[in-house]
Structure formats: structure tokens, C-alpha cells
């Protein structure tokens, strides 16, 4: 087991390195660089720009050097000093910008996973046990709507309804008067009042899939002889279902943890933009648009790292949960 984990961690490092290369190249692919996008943004706002300023900007940020050199300097800084470089648009070290947002993103994502499970677990069991009942159909219908409607649209619709009928604007994590206020009971309540919507909207997207998997897996198990045996022993129905088939059907919950994370993180970008949440999403989007490459590269690296760690954790969990699984 330990050897397996060690090998996986080594592989993780290689994967991360590859991700950094790909991320860097993709960020460099669009025409122009930070200097051009900076100047064009300035110009669109009506400011006059001198060409010398453009050149000076390029030299200052090393944008005039070959991509390989730029990449080498960046990755060397990370490995040797933990220095992720400077964000061009904020003129601040990348590391001073992102951590606060990364943690918030992680928290919101974990909360979403939890909510996703809380919703889909009981519904999945219900749908399997009461297959083809009106309740099963209702949840199936709702689940498919959840899958097919983009989550940002759901967010927009809910925001609109809140505005139209309750005259409330649900954006950000706090109401205006609480943003910079010290923590208090009222502030926590305010946070909860704002947090439920994005979390629920994000969670909805994942629930439908999990409900279907849970339902299908459980249906397979329910028909197996050991269930009949358990029932024959006279165990109460809830115990029959929860103790044996549900445990076996749990596997997808754990094994999907790895890919649920990146899904939530990327899915939350648009929702975060729409709802003005201070997560990494809007930062990543704006840094990509302005070609602020060290900032964008670092965020992509971190999100990839989180995903890879999540996958590893889910694999370990799976092995622990289901002894039939062998690690090789």
C-alpha cells in the first residue's frame, strides 16, 4: 500500500510538470501577449498609449524573450524558491493573490460535494427500492432537468426571481454592509443567506448523475441472492438494504470524488462570475483574457494539483472501502 502511494505521488509530480508545460503553451497560443492586451484595454477606455511604453512593458516583464526561456525561469522559480512569479495586471506576486481564493474555492467545492451526496444518496436509494413509482419518475425528471440546464442559467433565473419578487440582489458572499464588518452572528447568517444559492446550484449539476448511478448499481445488487438470504433471515427491510447492497453500491460515490472536484471547480467559474463570488474562477478568467500568464498558469497548476490529489485520495478510499479492489 505504502509503496503504491509513493509511486503514485512520484507520478503526480511528473503529471504536474507536464500540466505546467501544457498550461504555459496554451496560455501563449492566442495572438499577442499581456502588453498588447493591456494596451488595447487602455485604448478602449480612451487613454492614449505610446509605443515606447509598450516596448518598455515587454522588456520589464521579459515578454520579449523566447517562450522556452520564459517557461524555464517561471518553473525554476517555483521549484527553487516557491516563487510563482509576478501578476502583470495586479503588479503583485502571484502567491499573495491566490491563496485566499484557493481556500474559498476548496471550501465551496467540498461543501458542494457534501450537498451533492446528501441529496443524491437518499434519492438514489429511494428510486432503486421504489423503481417505477411516481416518486422515482418525479426525481428522474428533476434529475435530468438538473443535468441538461446549464447551472449558470439556473443561477441567473434564481437571481432574477429573487430580484423580481423579493427585491433582493443575491451576489457575492455578503451583503454590502457586512463585507468589511467584523465576524458576528449576523454576518454568519448573512453568509449563509448568500451561500446557499451557489452551493445548491453547483450541487444540482452533479446530483442527477450520481442518483442514476446509485439507482442502477443498487438495482443490480438488490436482485442478488444474498439480499434474498438476508430478507429470509428476517432482517428488517431498512437493515437489509443499508447494510449490504448500499455499501456495495457506494463505490461510485467514492471513485467519482476525483473527477467531481475538477468538475465543480471549472463549473463554478461561470457561476462565480455571474454571482460575483471571490473564488479562483473569475480570477482565472480575467487572467486568461488579459494574458496575465504567470497568474493563469499558477491557478491552472493548483487546480490540477488539487484534482490529482483528489483522485489519489479517492483511489485510496476506494481500496479501503472495498477489499475486492487490488492495488497494482
Amino acid at each position: 500500500m505504502l509503496q503504491y502511494i509513493l509511486r503514485r505521488i512520484l507520478l503526480m509530480l511528473v503529471t504536474l510538470l507536464l500540466v505546467s508545460v501544457v498550461a504555459f503553451i496554451i496560455i501563449q497560443l492566442p495572438p499577442g501577449d499581456f502588453a498588447t492586451s493591456y494596451i488595447s484595454a487602455l485604448s478602449a477606455s480612451g487613454a492614449t498609449v505610446q509605443q515606447e511604453a509598450l516596448e518598455a512593458l515587454r522588456t520589464q516583464y521579459g515578454l520579449d524573450q523566447p517562450v522556452l526561456v520564459q517557461y524555464g525561469k517561471w518553473i525554476w522559480g517555483i521549484i527553487t524558491r516557491g516563487d510563482f512569479g509576478i501578476s502583470f495586471s495586479y503588479k503583485l506576486p502571484v502567491s499573495s493573490i491566490i491563496w485566499e481564493r484557493v481556500w474559498l474555492t476548496v471550501w465551496i467545492s467540498l461543501l458542494c460535494v457534501l450537498i451533492t451526496w446528501l441529496i443524491s444518496f437518499p434519492i438514489g436509494i429511494y428510486s432503486a427500492v421504489k423503481q417505477y413509482s411516481p416518486g422515482d419518475y418525479l426525481f428522474t425528471l428533476l434529475g435530468f432537468i438538473g443535468v441538461s440546464v446549464p447551472s449558470f442559467l439556473v443561477a441567473l433565473v434564481v437571481m432574477y426571481i429573487a430580484f423580481k419578487y423579493f427585491s433582493v440582489t443575491i451576489t457575492g458572499l455578503f451583503s454590502s454592509e457586512f463585507v468589511n464588518a467584523p465576524w458576528s452572528g449576523a454576518k454568519v447568517l448573512d453568509l449563509l443567506g448568500h451561500l446557499w444559492l451557489p452551493v445548491l446550484v453547483l450541487a444540482l449539476e452533479g446530483t442527477a448523475g450520481l442518483i442514476r448511478t446509485m439507482r442502477a448499481n443498487l438495482l443490480d445488487e438488490l436482485r442478488k441472492p444474498y439480499v434474498v438470504t438476508a430478507r429470509a433471515k428476517g432482517l428488517p427491510e431498512w437493515k437489509v438494504i443499508l447494510k449490504y447492497p448500499v455499501r456495495l453500491a457506494l463505490n461510485p460515490f467514492v471513485s467519482t470524488l476525483g473527477w467531481l472536484l475538477p468538475g465543480l471547480v471549472s463549473g463554478s467559474i461561470i457561476i462565480s462570475v455571474v454571482m460575483s463570488l471571490p473564488t479562483t474562477g473569475p480570477l482565472l478568467l480575467s487572467s486568461l483574457l488579459s494574458q496575465d500568464m504567470y497568474l493563469a498558469g499558477t491557478i491552472i497548476m493548483l487546480l490540477s494539483a488539487l484534482t490529482i490529489i483528489g483522485t489519489l485520495l479517492s483511489d485510496i478510499l476506494l481500496a479501503w472501502l472495498d477489499p475486492r479492489i487490488r492495488l497494482q
Binding site: 505610446q50 441567473l156 463585507v179 467584523p182 455571474v274 460575483s276
Partner: protein, 666 residues
């Protein structure tokens, strides 16, 4: 978290002091910015002066009066300069209130335009003149080379330190000409590659002398560029400057901040060119409001509070500003701003969300949100400027684009009224890119020539220059070669560009010219035009109020004179894709230089108008229509907001409308 706790405690403390000291005059006021506790300002504070209780010459906000009573602030008479700027708003206001706005992402230019352009001199509210501001008066020598500024005596930074000519002298020498901070040197204070010579006469008087006449300098320092010159607090900035700070301490600060060079640290703390003041709560400024909770990449709300040392008063002697606080919520998406505005959560704003497509919904919700819409005069010279690249790398295309009759034919072929009706909801009238009517620069010929829709004339002109129709139905070049071109634009500039481009291509096809519109990413467009790869481009028409401040459409000297990329490169001495222009273009450029170096404002206007007449005869590019008024959102209880004001980066709205004189009424 920590700072907000400190602030909370400071607030409690202030409250306690206020309650205990109700009414009794105290002996030792400390002249620092009151609300921010624990300022690590290096400079020693001025010796405290005892406050007596004589009848005050000026009046102040209740929250400041309380601080004065509590002994935390010198009296208003001591805080104001000897000769404060008196500005009479439409009505005398009352103090208090919180001005709420919403900022999109890192768009802090919005704050800059709201109260960060309190320069040495400033525009009159109608944008036609320049009046003293930080300087109580100024003189320009007859030859236009030397400028003398007389600062208001007793001006103070927001931390109570004196604001003097030494601050500007320091910026001029140590920031604008420092190779680390400004690799190319700060541009607007150089003439013919030479920095203006700065002479400090006394604490409140200084002279600037340029190598050549430079009347334009005055307009430059009234424009946003001028804020850089006069916003640098030397006593605060020195701790971050390599020539003044203790080396070990500076190195430590650079290291702690995660920077590589001292210049990066300096720019992060003081802003590029030592202007931006939106992040650091400790950085003193001279504006109407000062930072409470500053901008950082993770900030979701910024707050600003009144500057107790602000140096302007109303006609009744009340110290400005009227409004106590500004709160700016940071949002990522424009629709969130629209939502806020319609819900009445924005007190005044005319940025980011005030697009034409959003106007109906904002109009309809006026009653619900208890706000009104105010009109904005756009500073653009046109809605769309079409630039045919007369210096295209392609010899065939360039030859055609250089034929004036071709451009005239293209202009006649456009059904402007149809475009105005479909794209601009019937707002505005047909026009070429030109300074707007009512300005000192209006040129009827430039503005209105060839704007009628006349397909017959267009065809006649094309026939006349020998562009005959080929076998495929498209017109060829005069010497019989096939002719087609791409019109490039970007929706990222304005949503309507793609509609305009496609309609233009349709009109031109109708007269046999094979043109296609292509919408592309803004970065790609910039790269292509920098390489001189474009045939023809669309951009917004700039320079409608003062062509000299944005001359791109009238003379090929501007970074975005996309109708003559190679000539522009010749003028700016760019090595690649440069080409010497023909004599008539050189004469036009010469006129522009004359205008820049004119010795007086009148001489300048004259030179600009001569340049515009040359541009009118040359007819370098085509426009569609005059821009319709824009709009902003103002709450019904916000008073003194004009119903119509200029919006433009150079004239900086809403600052031009004096927001420090706005107030919340009943």
C-alpha cells in the same frame, strides 16, 4: 481580519472619546488622519497647535466637528489652505451619506475618474476651458515654453503634512526620470526628447521650462496624465525609493512582499507613475475621499471616507465633500451591476453597465429603484470610424485605398440612415469622423461631406477611376486586377461593431466592391495592425471634443491611426513597417506638430483647425453617425448632479461634474 478589528476598536474608541468629551474643548489635537489607527508613517507629525474657540471662518461635516471637539483633528480653519478653492454647486448641500457604486473586476479607473483627477489645473464643467485647481493661478510665458504655477498656500495631504512645490519637484526628478520606474521617462513632460526643466521658486511656487513651445502642456495636466504629476507624496514615497530609503530596510520590504526589484515594490505601494491610490490605506492623497478599505485582487468591497484636509469649499464656506463615504462593491459580471442599479443599490454610476442594450430595463425600473437617468455627452467624434489602410503591404490594395474618389464612392454607398435606425435605435445623425458641433474645432466640411446615400454617384465615381466590373460581377482595380478586401473589427470594443461591419460590406457589395467583414479578438486585431497586415479596420471614432487629445482620425501620428500604419511608424520612428509619407501627408503632420508646440491656446486652436481643414480636403477616413447621448444612473435623492455631462476619458466623468459638491437631499 486584523485591520478590521483594529478599525472597529478605533471606532469604539472614537465613540467613547466623543461621548466623554462632548462640548469641552481639548488642548492637544493630533493632526493625522483620524479613522485609521496605527499608521506607520515615517515623517514626524507637525507640532500640535492648541485649538481656541474663535468663530470659525469655514464650516465642516458633523463627523469632523466631533473629531475636532475630541481633539483628534485641528480646526477646519487650520486644515484648509489660506485661499481654498470656492466652487458653487447648483445648491448648497448638507453633509452625510454613503455613495454606493459597483466596480467590475479590477476597473479602478472608475475611481480615478470619480475623484482621482484633482490636478494642478482642471477642466471647466463644460470641458471648454481650464481653471486653476491645486494651483491658485498659473502663468504661461509669451513664447509658450515656460509655465509658472502658484500653489494654494497651506495645502495639506490627507495625513496633515504640508503639500508644497517640493512634492512635485521630487516626483519630477525621482519618479518621472528614474530609469527603473520609467524606462522611457514619463512622456508628457518631455518635448523633443528633453525633460522640462523644473525650478522651485519657493514652497508654493515653481516653474517648468521646456526646450520648445508647449502650450499643450496645460491641457495635458488638466487631463488624466496630470494626476501623475501632482499626486505623489514625497514624504511617504521616500521610504520605498532606492535613493532615499535605508538599503537594508528596503531590501527586506522587497523580499517580504515577494518582489524582485525595488521598482516593483514602489509601483505596488504607490501605483505606476506614483499615482494610483486605491490600495494602501496609509498612502496620503489630496483628493476629496481617502482609502479606508483599499483595492486588492481579492477585495469584494472598497470603502473611502472624506478627506478632512480637502481644500475646497462651497459658496457658504462649507468644506467639501458633502458625502461622507463611498462604498464600491466589486462584481465580476455586468448583469450583477444592472441588477444592483435596478434595485436602487447604486447612487450614481455611469460605467460598465450603461450600454444601449441595457437602457430599456434601466429605464423601466426607474420608479421601482427610485432613481433617474442622466444624459452623457460622448466625447467620440463618430460611432464608427472606417480606416482604409493607405499604406497596406499589398501594393494593389494600397493603390486603390489611396484614391480619394474611391473613398468618396465608398462613403456615398453607405445608407447611414438605415444603419442609424437599425443599430443606433434612430439616435444621432449621419456624419464623418470630426470634432462635434459646438466645440471650437467644428469643421462643417469635415463633418458632413459625402454623407448622403447615393448609389448612383458611388457607381459613377468608381467607373470614373476605372474600376470596371469583371466577369464575376466584382469591380477590378483600375489596371484590371481582381480586387477584394477584408474589413476587420472587434465586438470586444463595442457590441455593435459586427452589425456595422456586416451592413457596410452589404452596401459595398451593392456597388460591386467585394468586401467582407471579419470580427476578431481585440488582441489579434492589435497584432495584425501592428504588423501592418490589415486592409481596412473599424474602430470607435475618438477625438470628438478636442482632436489634439486624440488625433488618430485626423493625422497619421497616433498609435491607432490605422488608416496609415506605415506613415505613423515613420513619424514615431518605429523601425519596422515604416515608410516616409508623401509631401501632402508630411504637411498634415507638420501642422500637428505646430499645434503641439503652439505658444498659446489660441494659436493652438488655430493650428488644429488648419490641420482639420487639411484632413477635410484629404478625407482620410469614413464615419457613420454622431454618437447619441449615453446615460448614467442617479438616485432621486442625490442632488447637484447635472442632467447632462461630458463622458470621456480625457475629461474624466463624473469628476468634471464636481461630485464633491453632490449631496443626498430629501
Amino acid at each position: 481580519m486584523k485591520t478590521s478589528v483594529v478599525r472597529f476598536l478605533a471606532l469604539l474608541l472614537a465613540l467613547a472619546v466623543l461621548l466623554s468629551a462632548c462640548g469641552q474643548p481639548t488642548a492637544t489635537p493630533v493632526p493625522t488622519k483620524p479613522p485609521a489607527a496605527g499608521q506607520p508613517t515615517a515623517a514626524p507629525t507637525k507640532a500640535p497647535e492648541p485649538t481656541k474657540a474663535p468663530a470659525s471662518k469655514y464650516k465642516e461635516a458633523p463627523i469632523l466637528a466631533d473629531l475636532v471637539k475630541a481633539g483628534k483633528l485641528p480646526s477646519v480653519d487650520q486644515r484648509l489652505p489660506a485661499n481654498p478653492l470656492v466652487y458653487a454647486g447648483a445648491s448648497v448641500g448638507t453633509y452625510g451619506g454613503n455613495w454606493r457604486m459597483g466596480m467590475r473586476g479590477s476597473d479602478y479607473n472608475m475611481l480615478f475618474k470619480t475623484f482621482g483627477v484633482d490636478n494642478l489645473v482642471t477642466w471647466t464643467p463644460d470641458g471648454k476651458g481650464i481653471v486653476p485647481n491645486l494651483a491658485e493661478k498659473y502663468e504661461v510665458s509669451a513664447d509658450g515654453t515656460e509655465f509658472t504655477f502658484y500653489l494654494r498656500k497651506g495645502l495639506k495631504w490627507s495625513d496633515g503634512q504640508p503639500y508644497t512645490a517640493a512634492d512635485i519637484e521630487w516626483w519630477w526628478a525621482e519618479v518621472a526620470q528614474n530609469k527603473d520606474l520609467e524606462p522611457a521617462g514619463f512622456p508628457s513632460i518631455q518635448v523633443k526628447g528633453e525633460f522640462g526643466k523644473f525650478t522651485k521658486v519657493d514652497d508654493y511656487t515653481f516653474k517648468v521650462k521646456f526646450a520648445a513651445p508647449y502650450a499643450y502642456f496645460l491641457q495635458q495636466i488638466a487631463a488624466p496624465v496630470g494626476a501623475y504629476v501632482s499626486s505623489c507624496p514625497a514624504h511617504f514615497a521616500k521610504q520605498y525609493h532606492v535613493n532615499f530609503a535605508d538599503k537594508a530596510k528596503l531590501d527586506q520590504m522587497v523580499k517580504d512582499g515577494g518582489f524582485k526589484t525595488w521598482a516593483e515594490l514602489f509601483n505596488a505601494r504607490l501605483g505606476a507613475h506614483c499615482q494610483s491610490v486605491w490600495s494602501d490605506e496609509n498612502r496620503p492623497n489630496i483628493y476629496a475621499w481617502v482609502v479606508d478599505k483599499g483595492y486588492s485582487p481579492n477585495a469584494t468591497q472598497l470603502t473611502f471616507s472624506r478627506n478632512p484636509y480637502y481644500w475646497k469649499v462651497d459658496s457658504a464656506g462649507n468644506q467639501y465633500p458633502y458625502i461622507d463615504k463611498i462604498t464600491v462593491d466589486v462584481v465580476q459580471d455586468v448583469s450583477a451591476l444592472v441588477l444592483k442599479a435596478t434595485n436602487g443599490e447604486i447612487d450614481y454610476q455611469a460605467r460598465s453597465f450603461n450600454t444601449d442594450p441595457n437602457k430599456p430595463v434601466l429605464f423601466d425600473n426607474q420608479k421601482k429603484g427610485d432613481y433617474r437617468l442622466v444624459s452623457l455627452i460622448k466625447g467620440q467624434s463618430n460611432t464608427v470610424a472606417i480606416h482604409f489602410n493607405m499604406t497596406s503591404k499589398d501594393a494593389v490594395k494600397r493603390a486603390v485605398f489611396q484614391i480619394k474618389d474611391f473613398r468618396i464612392a465608398m462613403s456615398y454607398a453607405i445608407n447611414r440612415q438605415e444603419m442609424i435606425d437599425t443599430i443606433f435605435v434612430s439616435q444621432g445623425k449621419a456624419a464623418q469622423p470630426a470634432p462635434l458641433e459646438g466645440t471650437a474645432f467644428y469643421n462643417k466640411q469635415l463633418a458632413t461631406q459625402y454623407t448622403e446615400y447615393d448609389v448612383k454617384k458611388a457607381n459613377e465615381l468608381l467607373d470614373k477611376i476605372g474600376m470596371k466590373k469583371g466577369a464575376d460581377g466584382w469591380r477590378t482595380t483600375p489596371d484590371g486586377k481582381p480586387f477584394a478586401f477584408i474589413l476587420e473589427g472587434t465586438k470586444e470594443l463595442s457590441g455593435y461593431m459586427a452589425d456595422a461591419g456586416n451592413m457596410l460590406a452589404k452596401y459595398w457589395k451593392a456597388v460591386g466592391i467585394n468586401a467582407e467583414y471579419k470580427d476578431e479578438a481585440r488582441d489579434l486585431l492589435y497584432q495584425r495592425k501592428d504588423n501592418n497586415d490589415t486592409d481596412a479596420t473599424l474602430w470607435g471614432g475618438e477625438g470628438g471634443l478636442n482632436p489634439l487629445l486624440d488625433v488618430r482620425n485626423f493625422a497619421p501620428v497616433h498609435y491607432e491611426s490605422n488608416w496609415a500604419v506605415a506613415w505613423k511608424n515613420w513619424y514615431t520612428k518605429t523601425k519596422e513597417n515604416a515608410e516616409e509619407p508623401p509631401a501632402n501627408i508630411k504637411a498634415l503632420i507638420q501642422k500637428y506638430d505646430d499645434a503641439l508646440l503652439a505658444p498659446s491656446y489660441d494659436a493652438q486652436v488655430k493650428a488644429v483647425n488648419e490641420m482639420l481643414q487639411m484632413a477635410a480636403d484629404l478625407f482620410p477616413n469614413i464615419g457613420i453617425s454622431t454618437p447619441a447621448d449615453g446615460y448614467g444612473v442617479a438616485k432621486n435623492n442625490l442632488k447637484n448632479v447635472p442632467d447632462r455631462m461630458i463622458t470621456d476619458f480625457t475629461y474624466t466623468d463624473p469628476f468634471i461634474a464636481r461630485p464633491y459638491a453632490w449631496y443626498f437631499g430629501k
